[in-house]
Symmetry: C2
Subunit: 526 residues, 2 copies
């Protein structure tokens, strides 16, 4: 079933000489399939094809793009157990998670299918001519969003489906009218190939141009760098580490023609436990957070890695229950030995601080690649002084910072780097801590009241992004239909013949979309 | 009247030691006012004040921001002849232009005032809770745009009012809720100080926080670099040269916390004269273009610097009339001796190519700082081979490229760098040249049918931007109400208490704005 080859548009290709295998962390063995890394020639072919495909794809109607996206979803579902099995073999994640993530992936594809079928996402705006205006006549001007061009997508290690080959970035870019080249994640190249096959089948079935999608295998950084530097590429979507995302971002800025990079990167997702909440609901939140911290071995970008409270008996009680609960959770398998070793090494760096205390962890031996969850504590002053304690430890790790008082708590929050989320646990006391709430708002993309940051709903009101380094551009979200805005640019027609305008802007409004006409939103014709 | 000092928030300050004067190109003499460049201490003070002001200003209602913006417009108008005189003294532009540009400036301010008073620009989206959803309940999630933080604005040399101190970037940033620090343009520091005084007065009258606006004098690049690198600054707006814009863009990308830079830069604004148009309307377009090329001494970012046609008698006739007409235009004053010398030096570089011909120019002596307009021609093959001929010559310069055929014309267009505008002059023939039209669309932000690129209407459908190097981010426009999107980011509240939500997101919809509620646009309460 798996060829190990690259999809250069519709054709399988493997002219390169570098091969690699994926790894099953549950069995602690390599998987049997052999993948061939894309060569420079294949990279050039894929980008050439994408550029040619763009000329046709950008003119494909929303209705036909919708068929394409829906067909991708159908083809992914048709892969059935083959996909689920490959997903589990390459990630160590349980089959229930595979099913749930596949559900999210096809939901995203169908959400974008509906969005582009409806059509008003292009934000059509029309100002009609006023030939008699003085001192100078006003010309007819019309605007809509158009696709940027070929987009390169770097999938995430922790979501082999939903933030990968046919994940949110790809679905949004295709919906916008941009051909996509996926730099397949080396940890799940097989899952990637299966999904790529589904996309290629869907493209062929629905008559999309060859080159609308390519899938390139890679075992290291070379393929990605080559793609980002390629002049045919007009934008980049990335989900992964701060180091990787920032490197691509700077590389793209230094191109002769700089291009936008939307990178969704690290986050410690601070949670603030306010005093009344600690007093009356501390134990209950401790149980909830023990689950949230260990969910999926803590391998979520919204994992709560930092809990901030004000020193005292209530916070101590919270920590005690959190530790009691977290050690009850059975250790689970991480995605890859490299992720395990990064987890261990990042933990070790944090624990090297003499003032960081381990409060609860699993000491017993665990299976290879299984992670031992851990709760640490530190004083507010120590945390403030040591910004290396602010860094994400990707895995089932959380640090509770015991602040002296609300002033120190606010100072800590205001000195954090940008975050995807911030959470307030509070009982009728939020208004007394407005400066803390505001400091947190200033640092995050999403703020949560009495809940956990894990769980990112796919809906129009979601923001999955935030100030750097949560993302490279806080003006966009990586999740939800609005994420399509990353891949489109406004384009303006002045005095253009009506018959040659795109349907979105014609007088007749043939798509019956809402448009801003002379400053008024309307479904009317002109 | 002019103090020559910096506005550090509401206070005038001049503790630095570097001073400079502006220049009147009409008299060819320095103006008398002495300006003191902002010192590092003052830069730090201004950014600190802006960061403090942001905490208050971001919570100011749309209605109150609207009062502030309208009051700025009123105060600018109240400056009366003092402002007009200073404008003319510092730019060499005629008073009619000063009046027109002041009109545009106050129109922009009032447009943004109306936008934020109405309030729906924040794109409020609400997805209400579904506690009984399976397998997991859906939480209440609400999103709106919030301001990024303090913005630095670099004004343009060629628009001392409309793209300067209280120009489009400043008006949009203040409207979004971002404090602004203007790096005043050294060529019109006096005009800048007068307008800054108007802004400060308006801020004080309408009760805006101190630090919502600062105005820093600068004679070179040091102040700007220091501002862009300052960690308190969260975004940059720039209008000027490719060299300057790209340098700031790269600098911002390399900060520990990268920030968005929207730079609107150079453009040669290609115009394509199609064969039937050349045959039947060539002479008429030649007259129109002679005016457009020389308008304001060619000192517009939308000046038509490149005209592409297919070789033959009709194109030759067009060139002949263009030259006859353009030499009739009286030479006019450029903005500054530095602009004149850059114009001369860029012209010389182009004319150094042995295959570039001068077809029409003014040979007679002109007054100091007056520019001699020029029309040059070159063969398509020569133009294709020499990308240095593709560069902008800022001033009343245009090059007519005589292409062998439509294929070469398309190739030339597809190899151009990104442009603000592209124009098609055509008679019932546009459909025969669809690949040329598409190639042009791919390179520009705005495409014009049978017109001139000069003249940028301020309206919702305008796009003033385009692929690099027309701008650093083609996903935004610098002109029109949509330009506010450069300075805002989506922010999401999850499960947040209704009473503590901003008015834009409260159940009651107290602002009566249109919102996307559970996927449906509505003015209703929840």
């Amino acid at each position: 079933m798996i060829t190990g080859k690259n999809y250069i548009g519709n054709l399988l290709s493997s002219i390169g000489h570098k091969t690699f295998k994926t790894f099953n962390p549950q069995t602690n063995l390599e998987n049997k399939e052999v993948f061939t890394e894309a060569s420079e020639i294949e990279i050039e072919q894929a980008t050439q094809l994408a550029a040619s495909a763009f000329k046709l794809f950008k003119k494909v109607s929303g209705s036909r793009k919708s068929e394409f996206l829906n067909e991708i979803a159908n083809e992914i579902e048709s892969l059935g157990d083959t996909l689920l099995q490959m997903y589990c073999n390459e990630s160590g994640l349980p089959v229930d998670r595979a099913i749930a993530e596949r559900g999210r992936t096809v939901f995203q594809l169908r959400t974008f299918a509906n969005l582009v079928k409806e059509g008003s996402w292009v934000e059509a705006a029309i100002d009609t001519a006023q030939p008699t205006r003085t001192p100078i006549p006003k010309l007819d001007i019309r605007k809509m969003l158009v696709p940027l061009g070929p987009v390169v997508v770097f999938g995430a290690s922790n979501f082999p489906l939903a933030y990968a080959t046919a994940g949110g970035d790809t679905a949004a870019a295709l919906a916008a009218g941009c051909p996509v080249i996926v730099k397949s994640h080396p940890m799940h190249a097989g899952t990637g190939e299966l999904v790529a096959t589904a996309i290629i089948k869907a493209a062929e079935k629905t008559g999309m141009p060859n080159g609308v999608f390519s899938n390139l295998n890679s075992s290291g950084v070379a393929v990605g760098i080559s793609l980002v530097k390629n002049s045919k590429i007009k934008a980049v979507g990335f989900t992964g580490s701060i180091q990787g995302g920032k490197a691509l971002y700077e590389m793209a800025a230094q191109r002769p023609e700089p291009i936008p990079v939307f990178a969704e990167m690290g986050s410690v997702n601070p949670t603030v436990l306010l005093p009344n909440s600690a007093k009356t609901k501390g134990a209950s939140w401790a149980k909830t957070y023990a689950s949230s911290i260990t969910l999926g071995a803590g391998q979520f970008c919204t994992n709560p890695g930092l809990i901030l409270g004000i020193k005292g008996q209530d916070l101590s009680n919270f920590i005690q229950v959190l530790c009691e609960e977290i050690v009850k959770v059975e250790p689970t398998c991480m995605l890859h030995p490299n992720i395990v070793s990064a987890y261990e090494s990042n933990k070790t760096k944090i624990l090297a601080h003499k003032d960081v205390e381990v409060k609860g962890t699993i000491y017993k031996e665990v299976k290879p690649n299984y992670s031992r969850q851990i709760i640490t504590t530190v004083e507010g002053a120590t945390f403030l002084k040591n910004t290396n304690l602010h860094q994400e430890v990707f895995g089932p790790f959380s640090m509770v910072v015991q602040c002296e008082n609300a002033v120190q708590l606010e100072e800590i929050i205001s000195k954090l780097e940008g975050q995807l989320t911030g959470t307030l646990l509070a009982e009728d006391e939020l208004e007394n801590y407005s400066t803390i709430v505001e400091a947190l708002q200033n640092r995050v993309g999403r703020i949560i009241f009495n809940g956990v940051p894990t769980g990112v709903e796919v809906c129009p009101s979601m923001v999955h992004g935030g100030p750097f380094p949560a993302s490279t551009d806080s003006r966009f979200t990586a999740v939800g239909p609005e994420s399509i805005k990353r891949w489109g640019r406004p384009f303006c027609f002045q005095n253009w013949p009506n018959s040659l305008l795109p349907n979105e802007l014609k007088n007749e409004n043939p798509l019956a979309i809402e448009r801003l006409v002379n400053g008024v939103k309307t479904l009317d014709k002109i």
